[in-house]
């Protein structure tokens, strides 16, 4: 006979689960509403989703730092709170884009919003735990929802993108499970804090390094896939191209923030144990990723693919900060994403301002550079804002990404990696070329004639989101200080 398990409700600390439960409950409410009345307009779902995310935000920001809950599998430390906040803010920014003036299939389904909320909850689980199984569950919940969201964009290349992403994702999930299994076999635990204790005691034993190597390669493959690091980046441009533009912008941010948190937890632990080759491995991956993606972006003929490669390059840039393993380095990861988020989402959303029934400019691409030729004459404000986003991505001061860039570079210099900072600087110079290319097309070329088949897609919500992104891009200099001090406080409080 088993003893009945007695657990007091207090010790479960259920409040740590509240943010995710709010998102999941919200998703269920949307499904139930649809069940009751299937004729409801999408604007209702959009607003409900935003409201649920706002409540979610409130619940997250109120959490106490460094608490565990729910049989100790939930870990609410500083980075889990800030990453959840970033994820929610990006999601709130993304949602209004569903209110486009043109009709897209995906947004008329309430399932879209339910899946979206489930995905947010999945990412929140992923970052709010140091239990490898819960991380895995969160990862899969989020990923499966995301595959479906891509496929809902009802076009053949969206299916292609979703299937491509799914198969690659399934492979990565397999690697994660195997990596976690090796960790369990080594230490008898899947809780990372216990893993760290066991490993630090056994680090001197023969053969243990080979096993750690095996597990960390497997785990690194998974995360490199999620972060689209070289050589696991090949899916990214195709998937971004197949997904709708804002969703592509969203995918370049939120899944990566979640994956970075997991990477910080796992590889930060190895670095703290003093395993130096992990640092070398991360540095090589980071440098190769940022350089190669930059070179690839140079030759792209499609703006969306260019932005896809550029966001891969940015991910490599930030990955280098992970190898530093200092509080500043970790702060710079989050600062960079907080600043990059608005600009990148804005840039992807700008791709959406015009649409064509047929591929007008190019048989192969949806957003070739020539589509943006002379935009300043057609839509001056739009061209100026897009140019702002491009200059910001290129790292021209005082726009937002510049502050992220110098914070990362300063962190590298402080940790003694001056050469890394120089490589970062040179990469930023290479990257400037392809961002400038779009600026040149918009400002210095004449528009392609016969543009009357263009369907403008400028809805109010789109303008609000783009306007908000533009303001945050320009005014970054005024909020970097509170942002940095908050992030630094939260991260140092959780011991990273």
């Amino acid at each position: 006979m088993f003893e009945p398990i007695k657990v007091s409700l207090e010790s479960l600390n259920l409040v740590t689960l509240a943010p995710m439960l709010i998102a999941i409950a919200g998703g269920l409410v949307i499904l139930v509403l649809d069940l009751i009345n299937s004729k409801l307009h999408k604007s209702l779902y959009v607003m409900l989703t935003i409201l649920i995310l706002v409540v979610d935000f409130g619940a997250t920001i109120g959490l106490n730092v460094n608490e565990r809950g729910f049989f100790d599998v939930m870990l609410i430390d500083g980075i889990s709170i800030i990453s959840q906040l970033l994820i929610i803010v990006a999601s709130i920014l993304f949602t209004p884009l569903a209110l486009t003036s043109k009709r897209f299939h995906e947004y008329s389904y309430p399932e879209f919003f339910a899946l979206f909320l489930f995905m947010v909850a999945g990412f929140q689980f992923m970052v709010a735990s140091d239990n490898l199984i819960l991380i895995f569950v969160g990862l899969e919940t989020a990923s499966l929802s995301l595959y479906t969201l891509i496929a809902l964009h009802n076009r053949s290349n969206s299916y292609e993108a979703a299937v491509k992403y799914f198969t690659m994702g399934a492979l990565a999930a397999g690697f994660f499970a195997m990596g976690a299994a090796v960790v369990y076999a080594l230490t008898g635990s899947i809780e990372l804090y216990q893993v760290a204790q066991v490993l630090s005691a056994r680090l001197g034993e023969t053969g243990i390094m080979a096993a750690i190597f095996g597990s960390s390669v497997l785990l690194m493959v998974t995360l490199a896939f999620k972060l689209s690091l070289f050589p696991f980046h090949t899916w990214a441009p195709d998937v971004y191209e197949g997904a709708s533009a804002p969703l592509a912008g969203y995918m370049a941010i939120v899944p990566k923030i979640a994956a970075f948190v997991v990477a910080i937890r796992i590889f930060g632990m190895y670095l703290d144990l003093g395993i130096e080759w992990v640092r070398v491995m991360i540095l090589i991956l980071a440098i190769v990723t940022m350089t190669l993606a930059n070179v690839m972006a140079l030759v792209q003929e499609d703006v969306k693919r260019m932005l896809a490669y550029s966001s891969i390059s940015h991910a490599g840039f930030i990955m280098a900060a992970l190898a530093l393993d200092t509080t500043e380095g970790t702060t710079s990861i989050f600062l960079y994403y907080a600043l990059f988020m608005f600009t990148n989402l804005g840039a992807f959303a700008m791709l959406w301002i015009s649409r064509h029934k047929v591929r007008k400019f190019d048989a192969r691409y949806d957003h070739p550079f020539s589509k943006f030729a002379g935009l300043v004459q057609i839509m001056p404000m739009g061209a100026v804002i897009m140019a702002l986003f491009m200059l910001s991505l290129a790292g021209v001061p005082p726009f937002s990404v510049f502050w992220g860039k110098i914070y990362v570079m300063q962190a590298a210099v402080n940790a003694g990696y001056v050469w890394l900072a120089i490589i970062m600087g040179l990469n930023a110079a290479i990257a400037a070329y392809y961002y400038l290319k779009l600026v040149v097309y918009m400002f210095l070329k004449d528009p392609v004639k016969d543009v009357d088949t263009v369907y403008y897609n400028l809805s109010k919500p789109l303008m609000v989101v783009i306007g908000f992104a533009a303001v945050t891009t320009i005014a970054a200099i005024f909020y970097v200080q509170p942002l940095v001090s908050y992030l630094y406080y939260m991260i140092s409080a959780s011991g990273y």
């Binding site: 200059l391 790292g395 021209v396 001061p397 005082p398 502050w403 110098i406 914070y407 570079m409 300063q410 210099v413 402080n414 001056v418 900072a421 120089i422 600087g425 040179l426 930023a428 110079a429 400037a432 070329y433 400038l436 600026v439 040149v440 400002f443 210095l444 200099i477 005024f478 970097v480 200080q481 940095v484 001090s485 630094y488």
Partner: protein, 511 residues
């Protein structure tokens, strides 16, 4: 008005924003008015400037990112004061003389934003604020060259942008490293240049940092062999673009050497005297020869402008009061003279739509006023006594004579070579019979053109005859800088070479 520097920076920017509302037909009048007000404000800055004080004046300091040591920190001293005046003057004159019709409103707005960034570079005392304006100045210039330039404009604009951008990113890493060293020594984050001045760095750090800053500044100057972007930019840019580029943007590089490299890395600067002097002499002689070989009048001016930047560089690295003071003066002179020459070339281009010297000849008979002004500017460019060009060049050569007489003689060939190519331009275009039919009925200078050039002629002669009111404040600040460099230098060699003038040591002025 204590915050006059902020007003100087943001007045053109706000005017630029409001300019979007102004009707296209009135845009030019709007731009000229704004630029005139800005110039008057900068004159006011000069009159309220305390010439007896060698340190920073009108200092403003607002912490922006205290955790990171970035603050909005501005100030002027004798070195930057006149460059600011020159900037606002050349923007005003450039706008008055501008002959562009296409998208005039965009041009005016772009120029006003450009003026903000240029003033910002020269008043910034925080490295990040300096960097911010430094990088931001690329964007309007990219647009000016790219939108109003010649057939290869896009290539020229991108080359200009990427070249400078790459150099300044390396400089940024240098800045971050200085901040890191400052933090590890004092425990405080600071990007304030005046704080950095207090740092005494070991020689190997100085050398590396000097190299990093050198790359950023040398590309902007442009030093040989980083000068290849400039002929393209000048060749393709519209007249106004060339005027601003030659008059102001190039000065950012030389100003950077005076503001950052010398006081922060005195020992490394002394060690690098010979390499930099050699590069500068190559730059002076080689580009002068290239200038002689040009068929296009504008390219002659462009290469001559590079050649004269070599004189400024050599003066900065003379490490004494005459050399550095002369260099700063030469920056003003170069700005006014080469700006005027580009405007003059623009005037003939507007009439004939060609800049080839073979198309002209005998212009002196057809356009006498034009020929006179061209002649005066040409003499000033060559460095004829009693023109502005002579004062700076003479002081620079005098200063560098203490370092190396041989190299001074080589650098002095710039006067001879300058005379050779400039006089040949003058001869080919202005003297002889009028060979081309089209040239016979060319109109002489219009009132607008005359009024934009006459003030420059007046300045060229005034400061050539009586440079004291400008030279005195410059020398005051330069002397203070030298005293301070000498105190800070750690190697005996540097202490030996950095010449502190007697008057400065007696007065005991230390920044």
């Amino acid at each position: 008005m204590d915050n006059i520097l902020s007003v100087l920076i943001f007045f053109p920017a706000i005017a630029g924003l409001l300019g979007f509302v102004v009707d296209k037909k009135s845009a030019r009048a709007y731009g000229i008015t704004v630029a005139a007000i800005e110039f008057l404000l900068s004159l006011w800055l000069w009159f309220s400037f305390d010439t007896g004080n060698a340190g920073m004046q009108f200092v403003e300091m607002i912490p922006l990112i205290p955790d990171f040591g970035v603050s909005y920190y501005l100030g002027v001293d004798g070195i930057s004061l006149f460059i600011i005046l020159m900037t606002t003057l050349m923007t005003l004159i450039g706008m008055v003389s501008m002959s562009i019709e296409k998208d005039i409103k965009n041009m005016i707005i772009t120029l006003l934003f450009l003026e903000m960034t240029m003033v910002g570079v020269f008043v910034a005392l925080d490295a990040i604020v300096f960097y911010l304006f430094w990088e931001l100045s690329l964007v309007p210039m990219l647009y000016i060259v790219g939108a109003w330039g010649g057939p290869l404009r896009v290539y020229a604009a991108i080359k200009f942008f990427l070249y400078t951008f790459m150099g300044s990113l390396v400089m940024l890493v240098g800045m971050l490293f200085v901040a890191y060293v400052y933090h590890s020594l004092t425990g405080v984050w600071s990007f304030a240049i005046t704080d950095w001045y207090a740092l005494v760095l070991p020689v190997n750090y100085q050398l590396w940092l000097f190299a990093a800053f050198f790359l950023g500044f040398a590309i902007k100057v442009p030093m040989f062999p980083f000068h290849t972007w400039l002929p393209y930019a000048h060749g393709q840019a519209p007249t106004i673009g060339s005027v601003i580029l030659a008059a102001v943007l190039l000065k950012m590089g030389t100003y950077g050497f005076v503001r950052f490299s010398l006081p922060m890395f005195p020992d490394a600067s002394v060690m690098m005297i010979t390499p930099i002097a050699v590069l500068s002499i190559i730059m002076i002689i080689y580009t002068a020869m290239v200038a002689y070989a040009q068929k296009d009048m504008k390219q002659v001016i462009a290469y001559s402008s590079v050649s004269h930047m070599g004189i400024i560089m050599i003066g900065i690295f003379a490490m004494n009061s005459e050399g550095i003071g002369g260099s700063v003066f030469q920056m003003l002179s170069h700005g006014i003279v080469s700006g005027a020459l580009f405007m003059l070339v623009g005037i003939i281009y507007d009439r004939r739509h060609t800049k080839l010297m073979s198309e002209f000849g005998g212009l002196a008979a057809v356009m006498p006023k034009y020929a006179v002004i061209f002649g005066i500017m040409l003499m000033a460019s060559v460095g004829l006594p009693l023109t502005i060009g002579f004062v700076g060049e003479f002081l620079v050569l005098l200063g560098f004579y203490e370092i190396s007489p041989v190299m001074t003689i080589l650098a002095g060939t710039s006067i001879i070579l300058g005379a050779v190519y400039m006089l040949s331009v003058f001869k080919k275009s202005f003297f002889g019979p009028v060979t081309k039919e089209e040239n016979k009925n060319l109109k002489d200078l219009t009132a607008k053109e005359t009024w934009s050039l006459v003030p420059l002629v007046a300045i060229v002669i005034w400061l050539g005859v009586y440079p004291k009111p400008v030279l005195d404040p410059i020398n005051k600040s330069v002397n203070a800088m030298l005293v301070f460099m000498e105190e800070k230098a750690i190697t005996a060699e540097a202490k030996d070479i950095i010449k502190v003038p007697q008057s400065a040591t007696n007065a005991g002025e230390v920044k």
